[in-house]
Amino acid sequence: MLPLRPVCGGIWRAAVHTVRMSRGAPPYRLFSSTCDGAPAALADADTIFALSSGHGRCGVAVVRVSGPASATALRCMAGFTQRLPPPRTALLRSITDPRSTEVLDRGLVLWFPGSVPGLRPAEAGEFTRRAFQAGKLGLTEVEGLGDLIHAETEAQRRQALRQMSGELGRLYQDWSDRLKRCLAHVEAFIDFSEDELIEDGVLNRVDVSVSDLQAEIERHLKDERRGERLRSGVQVVIAGATNAGKSSLLNKLCQRPAAIVSPIAGTTRDVVETALDLGGFPVLLSDTAGLRDSSDLVEREGVRRARERVEQADLTLVVVDSAHLPSEVDRAAAFLREHLRSVLPDTDRCLLVLNKADLLPEKQRQKLDTELRGVSGLPAVRLISCQTNEGLKAFLTVLHSSVKTLCGDPLFGAPTLTQARHRAHLQRCAAALAQYQRYRDTDLALAAEGVRLAVTSLGRITGRVGAEEILDIIFKDFCIGK
């Protein structure tokens, strides 16, 4: 393992070079084995390396090398000409390019003794896959680990940890167990009821269980993508008329001049994106071109993109220039309603930001601030000034709580969906249960097929369910005599 500080491009190139250099007669096997150990399994014969600490903003970068030629890599890149340092001991070393001997960076190096004998870049997820293939991790755990590795914020990390510890796995396992029991009881009714004392009540109980499960799975699916959002970041889009101060708001939120601001209307013509951590939640903030009709081709494209972003947004911040508001509160509310309609398809997920509050007389400011709250047909309204920072703190509190609602609190309530893969299987599962309801009274074989498909779909997440397992439940629950 060669942990280093963020700028690791040089290390990366050096490692790639080391690999290319080593492409001699047998591909990927340039280095002869210098380590002792048991013969490697076929799949593990290559030496692989990867940036293990995720891409993008990282405080610390970890480059991990695994395989038979790791020792050679450590020797020629960390300057151990004679022998390796003691294992499991971190040493501060200069990391050098083995070819030019140019110093690339300084960092901690340490190694762990492994078993075996070439070097190639790891395929995506290969370290994890190796652990998975070695039977060390279950499937949901592997996915949880992937998220943990990619976790950029505290909330994401907590969710990934929850999944690793199997909370989501347990939820799915519980569903799977209940579904298996439903299937076993339907199957018992099909295979044995003609000769045995299996009363019709069995099917009625299955009906209830199937409805319950269907409702629970659909509720889980209707978490409105919260889990996925927490993994990929909440899409927050700043939209509104030109010159309302949208770019200023973006710069305030990310605390750096990410977008160019000027008094000229139409300064922002494309989407400006920036990622930020909002109280532990990942947010992908986009500033967009001001919405207006324009004859300028470039600006028209910018407006089209802005509208597209608004369509896809999890949350839209509609920024309005306070100076354009009618002074009467009633008329101001009507104006804002009209304005929102021109910006958004629906007002469910938006916050109204009245910018340039500093330009209003103090009296009007207070009136607006108190009276616009709770006006029907309007979302949460906040007066701010990007110039004087007035109201920014209160606005951030509202924004944080909106984002938190969108993600769901990872420490509270039922675990949320974190994988698109899970979503697809669960949707199939719910649809299959609907098939049970559809055929329940006309064709029990087709109804049972529905439950069987549901079990199979969940099994794609929790693990395969075999016919024997179903029969075991049948014989445990019923006295079958023929």
Binding site: A43, E194, R464, K482
Partner: protein, 674 residues
């Protein structure tokens, strides 16, 4: 069509040889040992494929005997009977001849799980089977007890591998040679009978035990792993001594449905059918069982018995305080006996009498023959190929209870398949396999050879993951063409009939799809059907036939010109229409399984040194079971998804060296096996 009369048996006994002297030195293609359900189907199938076949049994007159219950078919089992019939086997037609009470179980649960079933007349069943075998060309039957299986010395190039060369009969030095041998010894392999505290060697009351020589050859010479199972049968009750007015009358279907695709009606006329009776156990039964446990050897043994055909002892011990069903079934038209289904027992005969008299209709009942238990050896079926051939012994095939199954239908299905393959092997043709995606027989064999058994194996519809496609109504379409074209076990008459049916059904479906009308036109044509008006789309006749209340007859009377010629298939068409969308959905999964089944794992892999990342436990399982395909490996208990991915990679690498076949990507495999 059923023949109107069975040939009078005794006049036909001459081709049956009771003396075996002249057979010595004779070379047969196939020798079948055993005359039960597996043996008779095996012998008949081998002869149909074209092999000179010899059936050896202890007593000619017990050929085709129903040792236990006088019935055939049922849920899951009925599907097997239909499939055996589709492959031109005997049991379906025998059932149509001998049936005295026909009913389709699960009638209200959907055609995929209908269970055709019949109570049988024991004598008629046996007569039919014997007469059928006697008239089968290339088939000879002989009485005798097999002492030894003759095999070659192990092949020095393949240690542990033998070839079968024939058999040696008991009490004499008669060796009869054959290229293939099918063993269908039922419960006779090291069989022991149990009644009360008495134990005696044997496989069935009234028959001599089989020789220990055969067990010895299998275990010691061939090194086959065996296990021990148990089963039992109830006492037979004197009918006149039972007060049937105290039991619930159970009538058969008013229109008996034949098993065989060749029959339009059963031998028994509808009005001549006999009823069954239902009664229940009382607390007294449980008391008798508990009081007599000390006197009951069989029940104290921990040998595995069937969970689903348990003795009355196991039933009351496992589910105490309950009332259990007992069916009183007729044994035949002229029989004076009743068969109490559900009362299999092994206690001493005097206690058996006490027990049955605790059940109201049998207060004064007399026992004709006491019930008894049997324990017997079976050969762990994971040592067999999907052709039911012992992997280590070329030419040796096993079928029936010797493979750990229970039930007539399971035995018949294996017998047919083992017999057909034994003949093909003897005639130097490649063996054939049936996929679990195309038949219950395939499910049965795949479960046996790739998973093995821990208790007597019985068929259930829930074992067939594609049961909506593997229906009793379409067994002929699924298997008859294959049976003729690829296996050679189907007569050309049956083959031609199956083609006629297939083409007619196809034409009818085409005609239905050609009826393409708006919802309002359909409403005019079929005013009684609640067709949703909101649907503005056009509907075909096939769509309409999927409606619950629409029958093919209704459509045919609305469109007589295009549909009336298909009235013969009205029920089959209705079923096809309802199931078609589901079968289409099944197709993708079926194709995936078939691809996995096409990826064979070499039989000589040394799993312990295989350079693939596998746990020791997985290596141990694979080495023990030696699955013949990746598909079979996937279904093994204890095989992890990771192990399958690694095996898949291995198969890919080794296969790639030979050819460049099409495979699916690894990602999908991981998903599917997870």
């Amino acid at each position: 069509m059923l023949r109107k009369k069975l040939p009078f048996l005794h006049s036909l006994l001459s081709p049956v040889s009771r003396h075996v002297g002249h057979l010595t030195g004779h070379q047969y293609d196939v020798i079948v040992v055993g005359g039960g359900h597996a043996g008779t189907e095996a012998a008949a199938a081998a002869a149909r494929v074209g092999a000179e076949t010899l059936l050896i049994t202890q007593k000619i007159h017990t050929i085709g005997a129903l040792s236990c219950n006088p019935s055939l078919g049922g849920v899951g089992k009925g599907q097997l009977v239909k499939e055996v019939d589709a492959l031109d086997g005997l049991c379906g037609r025998a059932g149509d001849w001998a049936g005295i009470h026909f009913s389709i179980l699960n009638r209200r649960k959907g055609p995929a799980v209908w269970g055709p079933r019949a109570q049988l007349d024991r004598q008629r069943y046996r007569d039919f089977i014997q007469s059928e075998l006697l008239s089968t060309p290339r088939l000879t039957m002989v009485e005798g007890s097999v002492e030894e299986l003759l095999v070659t010395e192990p092949n020095p190039e393949e240690p542990g591998h033998h070839r079968v060369t024939g058999i040696r009969l008991a009490n004499g030095s008669h060796a009869i040679s054959a290229r293939s041998v099918v063993l269908t010894t039922g419960t006779f392999l090291s069989g022991s009978l149990f009644v009360g505290q008495t134990t005696s060697p044997g496989g069935r009351i009234g028959d001599a035990p089989s020789s220990a020589g055969l067990s010895h050859t299998l275990r010691e010479r061939l090194g086959l792993r065996t296990g021990r199972l148990r089963t039992g049968t109830p006492p037979r009750i004197v009918k006149d001594s039972v007060d049937l007015s105290l039991a619930k009358l159970h009538l058969p279907d008013s229109h008996p449905t034949p098993f065989s695709f060749l029959n339009t009606h059963t031998h028994c006329k509808p009005e001549e059918q006999l009823p069954c009776y239902l009664t229940f156990t009382t607390p007294g039964v449980e008391r008798v069982v508990r009081e007599s446990l000390q006197l009951n050897c069989h029940i104290q043994q921990d040998t595995k018995g069937p969970r689903y055909c348990p003795s009355i002892e196991s039933r009351v011990l496992r589910f105490p305080g309950r009332s259990h069903q007992v069916w009183l079934e007729p044994e035949g038209v002229t029989s004076d006996l009743l068969y109490p289904q559900g009362l299999s027992m092994t206690m001493p005969p005097d206690i058996q009498l006490r027990l049955i008299r605790e059940i109201p209709p049998m207060r004064r009942a007399e026992i004709h023959t006491p019930g008894y238990g049997v324990q017997y050896d079976f050969v762990c079926p994971t040592q067999l190929s999907p052709a039911l051939q012992v992997k280590s012994t070329q030419g040796l095939f096993l079928a029936g209870q010797i493979n750990g199954t229970t039930g007539y239908e399971e035995a018949a299905a294996q017998g047919l398949w083992a017999g057909a393959n034994a003949a093909r092997s003897a005639l130097s043709m490649p063996t054939v396999t049936l996929s679990r995606t195309e038949s219950y027989i395939g499910v049965l064999i795949d479960d046996l050879v790739s998973r093995g058994v821990t208790e007597p194996y019985r068929m259930f519809t829930s074992r067939a993951e594609f049961r909506t496609s593997l229906r009793p109504d379409n067994a002929d379409l699924r298997l008859t063409p294959k049976g003729f074209e690829e296996v050679g076990c189907v007569s050309s008459v049956r083959y031609q009939e199956s083609l006629r049916v297939r083409n007619s059904l196809q034409d009818a479906l085409t005609a239905l799809q050609a009826l393409f009308l708006s919802t309002s036109s359909w409403k005019k044509k079929l005013p009684s059907v609640p067709i949703s008006e909101t649907k503005s789309t056009l509907l075909t006749g096939l769509d309409l036939l999927q409606y619950n209340d629409v029958t093919f007859e209704m459509l045919a009377s609305a469109f007589p010109e295009s549909l009336s010629s298909f009235m013969e298939f009205a029920q089959r068409l209705k079923i096809e229409a309802v199931y078609k969308p589901h079968c289409d959905l099944n197709k993708k999964e079926i194709e995936r399984i078939q691809r996995e089944e096409n990826m064979s794992l070499p039989q000589d892999i040394d799993y312990f040194s295989l350079p693939v990342s596998l746990s020791d436990e997985v290596r141990e399982i694979l080495d023990r079971v030696r699955p013949s395909t990746l598909g079979a490996a996937t279904r093994l208990e204890g095989i992890t998804p990771a192990a399958v991915v690694n095996l898949l990679n291995y198969v890919r690498v080794t296969e790639k060296k030979k050819e460049t076949p099409q495979y699916f990507d690894g990602e999908r495999v991981r998903e599917d096996t997870a």
